[in-house]
Symmetry: D2
Subunit: 337 residues, 4 copies
């Protein structure tokens, strides 16, 4: 079985696992106050050129999202998001469970448009409505698409205009930043957002996301929220150790690039065989459209997820490549078609 179901099907990249093993009997204080966490935070600050930013480590993305939103917003404040945003759809109402409405704007390509921020602001007239205070975007998005630098700058302008925080969910940031079509750097992201997270779980870590708080308004007491929402890991160093490996040299970006290379090969192969795509993805998630029988046949040999029905005869499926995907697997898959 070729496994293209997701980018968290295996454990960790061997270098990361080795670091965990090597440090196993070290004795440290808990809760992320150890040297590994401090060092990993410094590596990240230095890589994003924001020595002043705060860095907090989480085990998973849902946790990171709702803890941040809960920390940033007052009870009547809301988040603007694409209607395909992960927080809108796939987190079992975690944001609402923390008390906040998500103002979902319909976006076929999963990218929030700057004009939709105007639209959302205008709609919420007075105190009978929630008050939008934050914009949530993902990069790469739930459909594998990416924001350009110009788009992100335009979104930033609207946020400034309306006094909104800009938060970027980087569960798949490595893939976005190493895509052939990308024109954003991680420094750009650190500059243009108020907060963003660097996803580890989907890019070779056993688990782990690094939240970066650039806007000083968002920093006070964040660790209280981290603890309250269940995100403070007892053996917090496990997160530090992993991000040390990812950011000591270039591993974080190398793993993203590998996933993209595998996706490029797959996309090119599928395109040359004439299959259309549901979204223009140049990252590690591809959304090809297949006739139903082809999809059924593939399912016998490949593990993947169904995205949606296209019409009576065709459906869209999702292939996800990762740091662990091999060229052999891609070739085998293409040979099936």
């Amino acid at each position: 079985m070729i496994f293209l179901r997701n980018d968290y099907s295996e454990g960790a990249h061997p270098q990361i696992l080795e670091a965990i093993c090597k440090s196993n009997m070290e004795q440290t204080v808990g809760y992320g106050l150890d040297e590994h966490c401090f060092n990993a935070a410094k590596l990240i600050q230095s890589r994003i050129k924001r020595e002043d930013a705060d860095v907090h480590f989480f085990v998973g993305g849902t946790q990171t999202n709702f803890t941040s939103i809960s920390a940033f917003l007052r009870p009547h404040e809301a988040v603007i998001s694409s209607s395909r945003g992960h927080i809108c759809v796939h987190e079992t109402g975690a944001v609402e469970a923390c008390g906040h409405k998500i103002v979902a704007m319909p976006t076929p390509d999963a990218k929030l448009k700057a004009d939709q921020i105007d639209e959302a602001i205008e709609y919420h007239e007075d105190e009978h409505f929630v008050k939008p205070k934050m914009v949530y975007i993902t990069n790469s998005t739930e459909l594998g698409t990416m924001y350009t630098k110009a788009e992100l700058q335009e979104i930033r302008k609207r946020c400034d205009k309306y006094g909104l925080y800009l938060y970027l969910d980087g569960a798949r940031l490595a893939s976005a930043l190493t895509s052939s079509e990308n024109d954003l750097t991680i420094e750009d992201i650190a500059t243009l957002t108020d907060a963003f997270y660097i996803g580890g779980t989907k890019n070779g870590a056993l688990f782990g996301e690094a939240l970066v708080l650039s806007n000083p308004v968002l920093k006070p007491d964040f660790r209280y929220l981290l603890k309250q929402k269940g995100g403070m890991l007892a053996k917090g160093r496990l997160l530090g150790i992993q991000f040390e490996e990812l950011f000591r040299d270039n591993l974080y970006f190398e793993l993203g690039a590998h996933a993209n290379n595998m996706a490029d090969m797959l996309r090119n192969g599928l395109q040359s065989k004439g299959y259309p795509f549901f979204s223009d993805s140049f990252t590690n998630q591809l959304f090809p459209i297949f006739p139903n029988e082809t999809a059924q046949f593939l399912a016998e040999h490949v593990s993947f997820e169904n995205e949606c029905k296209i019409d009576e005869k065709n459906r869209c499926i999702r292939f996800v490549t990762s740091w662990a995907t091999t060229q052999e697997d891609i070739e085998k898959l293409l040979a099936l078609l």
Copy 2:
């Protein structure tokens, strides 16, 4: 100034106010455990032919909605509503503040369609999504439209099919049930829903809504929620006294009918002058479309709310009639055009 801004612009219908005055020096226990509340509950039970139903009194509608939803749902459960539903739009995220997502289905006429329930259920596949557990509808709706008996029965069927509670927000129930186009009785509503509320604030009470719980599953410990969410009035008898007046004889329906008569007169007048309407309303809210300059001119003489822009030259405004609206006012308004 002709006041058609809303149906809560005055105090109470004189008969209700008189009852409050007459009982003023009675000494009763607090929190809705007095004889007036018991008697009012009995009058309602008898009128809806559900002696087994529980009746709870609230001061306002937002309170009634979020307290009920909070009482009925577990944390991961969600409410399906028209995207124009009052809870979606005009309650400052009160439902989300209680932890629940609203699954908003776009409906141009503010009426949720039975098929949209199927759609919502199908979309929410597994535990990564919220779980729809309740359907919220308003009657009459935010656009003055109404559910037919057939429509309500069809919604009930879907609720039964999927194990959903059906809750009807009756802030303007009096107007709906006394509309010339209505084919539903209050008994039908008590039979077809699991819970609904009978709106007093917008139909001649100083304030007050009577929540009816028909489904026994929803009854236990409801008074705890009433207290916790701030809905338990110290001098609870004020609610009982008012609903005694409304339901002792037929006052509740007479007041609704009066509001509708005034709206009919206004609608007919506007139609005969050639003005189109944004929605097909036969209740006490009308949504005529006027050229911008006409709307501006009217605003000098009439107090009303803007609903929305139609195009560069026209806009939709809202007129609301009430138990207190006079024929003279309607005539004066029509004479302006």
Copy 3:
């Protein structure tokens, strides 16, 4: 039956009811944006000598408390309160339902001691604990006791030292401020607290509490919270009208003084008959201790609440006087003993 069960057994003081009746057919906008509310706010600002304070009107006290706490605190922040504080005990966990822990400090007389603030702060060491950010006190307290000016100043000092907001629940403020033993003015309270509310429900209003926000930090967006938490009354003017009556001249204080006079008479009578008291109350709640059989006998003639068991033979009960209590009733009661 002599009714000393509580101070909200009747409707409204006749002057207040009359004002409601007189204004009944006035047409106003809703939600507290009418002239009566503006005028009432001005009367209060002027009476407390804080023209800069914001005033918001609520229907009831539980609502006022949880809405304020919810508006003032971030999710990890907590309220310090006497363990007998109304929010700790009698509000069905409304504060916790908004997400906040109450740090309850045991106080036999229901008065929080300034040193207990130190104690609470010291106990909460780091981010594994909640962070106390607010002090909640009631005046008069749940046991009828009162804060002296020196005590309130001392509490203020600790609040300043630790960066805590001071909030005073004035459900029975009228009784406190007109007590023979009181040395605080309403101006003192407005100066020494960050926020407090002036209770109307228990002092002659049909219902209503006026929240005063003195600290500018607490003001932004408060009306969003008022709406979200269900406290925004459609016919908001009802609150304005009542507080106009209470604060136009001196009615608020006269009603409190009357209740206290009745309590003084009752206390003196009981003392002269040798009955001890559970608390030193010089306000409108008295907590006499009776042998069980005396209490049982009284219950046949007087409506009151049981407070607690003292020992096998004696119990403490609560008598509450109000603006409506008559000298005849007190004399009758004393004659029974």
Copy 4:
């Protein structure tokens, strides 16, 4: 430095780490739906002799506690706990952040007494109070003490009497069950509680807690809550793999026994030197009392936590042994005194 600060100072027991490494390149579905999780659940079901119980895996204890409480209770329901209970003190108000009050009963030895359940129930009279619906206990407790079988049975009886769920926080269950003074089996615990969790983080796992739901009422939709509250790990198999190791043979109990042996040795040594203890602990947490200067001297050589001040001259500190503590370390420590 001798490290007795806590039982999560190192990584994982080597056997567990090896299993993680060995399975690293396996490809599995995510979110705990893989074979390792199924197998681990079966091993636990079989070990506790409850094939019918549901088992869910979490990363940490705070998460397990608040997710369970949130899943089990309605908004007005509360948890009874010892005032030293972990949820009361060290979880930054996580339970309150989910909306529930903790009814904290003072207990010097951190063990909730059965009679305190009666007391809590009697105190909460009606709907103005929260409604206790669940009892939370820890075993071993925050002071290293343990429940006897008789005590647990008595607590169960009260829970049955009042319709309360009994939940046991087993963060340090391994140490409790292998203590020389223990008379409870894990089967007893599975029988006497409605839900409990088997702590891995503090007993040799890299991280992980296994929640056991015995009462069928608590099972429906639990995975929704697991996801919503951030507890659903993407690479869920990591939890399954670790609990397979802990429960395939007897590793879970062996590690607990080792920690206890080290604690026994330390306790005996301290006792023989005449140091008193703050609590009667026969588990892996010891609370010796030292003169301040002794404690200061020790702090230069041993890493530990301060528990509390005893008097001006003495203080209580906490030593925690673990699966990783060595006899050499204990000997070295004792040699210092």
